[in-house]
């Protein structure tokens, strides 16, 4: 297909785009709570569980004399069987030794199998036409009607409203269920409200993206938003934004190019946002984490170097620290040590020494080295005094914590250990190569 058919972009298409954006936003918002409750895959089981309801509703309506494709009827059927599926998962996990993952898998496959069997019956029926029921499995964004879109928008708005009103309660439910119980909140009821919202959104989302992919709208935007924020309110808002944007892009594309499978395009738009958040996210993104780890590693190496030099000076009385000693002190390669020394020199901590194979601290370097040694020994003394760690083993344990000590903690340690003057090392260097 070449070029987009712009003439097809009429009133109906605009309404459909609006509906999908609303769906994406509502799913993103409520999905945040599901993600934090560690129930992300519950939506998967629920969405598959809607299929038998759709089939049964069709059969009932045909039996009553209709043509069987009255949308609210089908959605009601979907809602009821989705709720039944959710109930089955809860019962299985609470009353049997089946674990949650297996319970989800059982409900998902058995309900879906039942749905397929019922659709199989319908397809061979003489009355009523089953054509179109399968669109619930893969979605049919492009051929959605304006009335469908209005329904989606209305339901999305209502679920937003409910979630907004119960925001505080849902937050508590996600983070500290036991505390919520102790406050006297009706936890079970709240849980049911949250899950019902998910079922309702899943059901109205079937039309747009189909039952296999609707769960992506509930899982991917919150997972992306989590990379950017540690605060639930902003995470949920961001998640709604992501869901809305991805939905809008996908629906626009499918309105312009009906041959693209819209549901899949919407999901891939979400996936791209996820990938970008994974790398660039400001809280948990890989770049940020990588940078902070790199910084910490650099700080630790610098403190190791300064401490080694200070300890040498202390033991031998000479300010000229031989290169060979430093090389043996930590498992540095000659190249890593050279890079270390260079960066310390450019920060003004080392001064050019008289001979080529020794290094020497500047006054600034000495002050910093003093502090590093003092922190190390403070923490060592603390561990020996309060944690009963043998002096010969304390060096490594102290090393794990000393680089992260805040000034306030150091002051507290000094007060606790009643130390003011210089601390002697519990494991002094015995022989110093000179």
């Amino acid at each position: 297909m070449t070029g987009f058919d712009l003439s097809a972009f009429g009133y109906n298409s605009k309404v459909v785009v609006l509906g999908v954006v609303a769906l994406g936003m509502a799913c993103g918002f409520i999905g945040s709570f599901m993600l934090l409750r560690k129930r992300a895959l519950m939506a998967d089981a629920v969405s598959h569980a809607t299929l038998p309801g759709i089939g049964l509703a069709f059969l009932v309506m045909v039996h009553a004399g209709g043509d069987g494709k009255w949308l609210p009827g089908l959605l009601l059927g979907a809602l009821l069987s989705g709720l039944a599926g959710m109930g089955a998962v809860l019962i299985l996990t609470r009353m049997t030794r089946i674990k949650e993952d297996a319970a989800l898998g059982i409900v998902l496959s058995v309900f879906f199998g039942l749905g397929v069997a019922i659709l199989g019956v319908i397809q061979k029926m003489s009355r009523g036409s089953a054509a179109g029921l399968e669109s619930f499995i893969y979605g049919k964004t492009a051929s959605m009607l304006a009335s469908d879109a209005y329904l989606i928008t209305a339901v999305g708005a209502v679920s937003f409203l409910v979630c907004g009103l119960l925001f505080k309660e849902f937050t508590l439910l996600c983070f500290d269920q036991d505390f919520a119980v102790s406050l006297g909140l009706p936890v079970l009821l709240l849980d049911l409200v949250l899950m019902s919202l998910v079922v309702v959104l899943t059901v109205i989302g079937l039309q747009a993206v189909g039952l296999i992919l609707v769960i992506a709208l509930l899982i991917i935007p919150p997972a992306s938003a989590r990379f950017w924020s540690d605060n639930l309110a902003s995470m949920a808002s961001l998640s709604a934004l992501f869901g809305g944007v991805a939905g809008g892009v996908g629906a626009l594309l499918s309105a312009l190019a009906p041959k693209w499978p819209a549901g899949a395009v919407i999901v891939l738009a979400n996936s791209l946002l996820f990938a970008a958040s994974f790398v660039f996210g400001s809280q948990r993104g890989q770049l940020v984490r990588w940078r902070s780890q790199h910084r910490l590693a650099k700080k630790i190496a610098r403190q190791h170097l300064l401490r080694a030099m200070e300890e040498y000076t202390e033991a031998s009385g000479s300010r000229e620290v031989p290169w060979e000693f430093l090389l043996a002190e930590r498992s540095w390669s000659p190249r890593a040590l050279r890079a270390q020394l260079q960066s310390a020199e450019s920060d003004g901590l080392l001064e050019a020494s008289v001979s080529a194979d020794t290094v020497c601290l500047t006054p600034l370097g000495e002050a910093k080295a003093d502090r590093a040694v003092r922190n190390h020994r403070l923490w060592e003394t603390y561990l020996i005094t309060y944690a009963d760690i043998a002096p010969s083993h304390v060096d490594r344990d102290a090393d794990m914590v000393e680089h992260l000590l805040e000034p306030a903690v150091i002051a507290e340690l000094e007060a606790l250990l009643a130390i003011e003057d210089r601390i002697r090392s519990p494991h002094p260097l015995e022989s110093v190569p000179s």
Binding site: L35, K38, A40, L41, A43, D44, L92, M95, T96, R97, I98, K99, D101, A102, A103, L104, G105, I106, L108, S109, V110, F112, G113, L114, G115, V116, A117, I118, L119, G120, V121, K124, M125, E134, I137, Y138, I212, L213, I215, A216, I219, I220, P222, A223, R226, F227, K259, W260, P261, G263, A264, V265, V267, L268, N270, S271, F274, F278, R284, Q286
Partner: protein, 290 residues
């Protein structure tokens, strides 16, 4: 309701597929990774599509390779998202498999629209067509699917027997497993590859719904009824076989009772599996109360 040779072949194919799925499924359920079966059987779609687009054939070997690679990749991606992104594991699964499934759908619709590899065939399989595609073995005409799934059963049985010790230890005590030199991570990836290959072998004939059902439900049933690993495996296999037979019986026998024609066999087999599971739930609850 009439039972013909066609029905027998359908049931034999389904039974073999069910057993092939139930064997690795047991270890998935014990490792609490059931949903990984669901994730992998959705996620291999792009593997199938790419294998098809590259070779322009539905030749089984390419499909196997494509599916196995994507199956293992799914596990690797889920692990990476979980570990590096600190995303909870089930959510990581959801992100990865829906993305891959969407990608697969687009590849199929855009690239392979004109061929008979379509998405609903992946979902439902084409069990009714199984007896038509036969291979002559000596004097008999045996459906290709029966031979393929028979081979898959032998392969999976050999996998379980050969790696019985490794699978057991890495399933029940990953820490111990790592210390004695059996990497639980590699065992887990190996299991994922086996699941992916089994899924792709089974789906052409029985569809992905039945694959997911047979991976999880027989093992869960056995979990309710047994306490030790060997009886657990046998119970799962027996449940799988029984559900395949009951399911087909239900598919051709039940709807006529209500005045309809027959229905989809794969769907009814999943339902039969659910029924057997429900009985096991009732029985195990009565036993625990008495």
């Amino acid at each position: 309701m009439t039972w013909t040779a066609i029905d027998s072949w359908i049931v034999v194919t389904a039974m073999l597929s069910a057993v092939a799925c139930a064997l690795p499924g047991c270890f998935l359920v014990l490792r609490r990774m059931s949903m990984m079966g669901d994730a992998i059987s959705h996620a291999i779609l792009p593997g199938l599509a790419i294998a098809f687009l590259l070779t322009h054939s539905r030749d089984s070997v390419t499909m196997f390779v494509g599916a196995a690679i994507v199956g293992v990749l799914t596990a690797v991606f889920v692990d990476a998202v979980h570990r590096h992104g600190h995303v909870e594991e089930s959510a990581a699964m959801g992100v990865v498999f829906t993305s891959l499934f969407a990608l697969g759908l687009i590849l199929l619709v855009r690239g392979a629209d004109h061929v008979d590899l379509d998405a609903s065939c992946v979902l439902y399989g084409a069990m009714e067509l199984v007896p038509l595609d036969v291979i002559e073995v000596g004097r008999w005409e045996i459906p290709r699917a029966v031979l393929k799934m028979g081979a898959m059963v032998l392969f999976n049985a050999a996998f379980v027997l050969l790696f019985f010790k490794e699978l057991t230890i890495s399933t029940f005590d990953p820490g111990l497993s790592d210390t004695v030199g059996i990497s639980s991570k590699w065992m887990s990836l190996l299991l994922m590859a086996v699941v992916a290959v089994t899924a792709v072998a089974a789906f052409e004939s029985v569809g992905s719904i039945l694959v997911i059902a047979m991976l999880i439900v027989p093992a869960a049933t056995a979990q309710l009824l047994t306490e030790r690993l060997t009886p657990f495996l046998w119970t799962a296999v027996a449940t799988a076989v029984a559900s395949a037979w009951l399911g087909h019986l239900g598919a051709i026998g039940l709807p006529p009772l209500f005045g309809f024609e027959d229905t989809n066999t794969a769907g009814m087999m999943a339902v039969a599996c659910g029924m057997v599971f429900a009985l096991a739930v009732l029985w195990s609850r009565r036993r625990s109360q008495s």
